[in-house]
Amino acid sequence: MNILKKIMTAIRGGTRELGESIVDSQGTRIFEQEIEDAQESLKKAKHDLTQVMAKEMQASRKVESISAEIEKNEGYVADALAKKEESLALEIATKVAELEQDKALQVDAQQSYEKHIEKLKSMMEKAERQLKDYERQLTMVKTTENVQKATAAITDNFGTTDSTLMSAKESLDRIRKKQEDFDDRNLAAEQLDAENSGKNLSDKMKQAGIGDTQSAAEAVLARLKAKAKKKA
């Protein structure tokens, strides 16, 4: 089941009323049941796996100990032959043959356990993937529902408290107005700063007799006097 497809069908079919659940709750419950089942089978597979792994280890230990036994007895056969004890050598060799049969059985068992382990592991991986997928799809349903319900709660809230969810233009105007106020305030502050520092400087210069120390009126008078002198 592709949940996104279901969501799309629901939206196309006009089930986009806010708060209305996109996938019927029955569908969600089935999903949750599937997730639970997958989790359960995963748990069982894990339990089986540990048992089979234990058996495999036991078989492998047996193979080792029988192999050691065989090696030891083969040594005895050689010793008996060296001492020309033919019948004793045959007796020990018979034991070795029995041990070898035993070993073959244990090796078979060990191999079949190994195969079983491999199978269980791949089953578990498959279940994990399935589980992840179910969870991901359930997330889609739940998220869709949640966001729709959240939107409904928000619109309801704004409807009752009268602090309307503003239109984008209104918001933009408000933001711009605030920004302008902020800019204006900044500009005013900067100008004030500039004026203050400029005034301070010219005051200091005047006191020190540096720069243009004449007043504006004096300057105009001097200029006009010079002009009159030229004409005359």
Binding site: R16, E17, L18, G19, E135, T139, K142, T143, N146, V147, Q148, K149, A150, T151, A152, A153, I154, D156, N157, L165, S167, A168, K169, S171, L172, R174, I175, K178, Q179
Partner: protein, 135 residues
């Protein structure tokens, strides 16, 4: 953390840039946290939580605010620019276009706050840039 915990912890937080937050819970079928950034012009951000995700949403504009003759152009522009917008993506909920960011529920508070601040900045840019498409 539930929505109340987020409300408390976000209200107490002050970012390195000096942002502080005003939080208000909205009760409904699901709990929503309304977050406003003090001293920053912008949009209220709505935070809601699901089992695996924290979703932060800004409501941009509704279908009836869109100039009908420019609607397709607007939608294409949204698709074309969505990936460029850091941490946020476009969506539509009901008849409202939204900008949203989704985080894992395991995200720490700093990540959630980063999302909230970025989302607000993105929303201002988006509305300013998309103004021509709106009535």
């Amino acid at each position: 953390m539930n929505i109340q915990d987020y409300a408390i912890r976000i209200s107490q937080n002050r970012t390195r840039e000096g942002f502080t937050f005003d939080c208000q819970t909205i009760n409904g079928e699901v709990e929503v946290l309304q977050i406003e950034i003090n001293g920053m012009n912008g949009f209220p951000i709505f935070l809601t939580k699901t089992q695996n995700q924290i979703i932060c949403i800004v409501y941009l504009w509704s279908e009836d605010e869109v100039k009908s003759e420019k609607r397709t152009q607007m939608l294409e522009m949204m698709l074309d620019t969505s990936i460029s917008i850091p941490l946020s993506a476009y969506a539509r909920v009901g008849n409202r276009f939204v900008l949203y960011g989704a985080l894992s529920v395991n995200s720490n508070l700093d990540k959630v706050i980063e999302e909230v601040v970025t989302l607000n900045e993105n929303a201002i840019d988006v509305v300013t840039a998309m103004e021509d498409f709106l009535k």
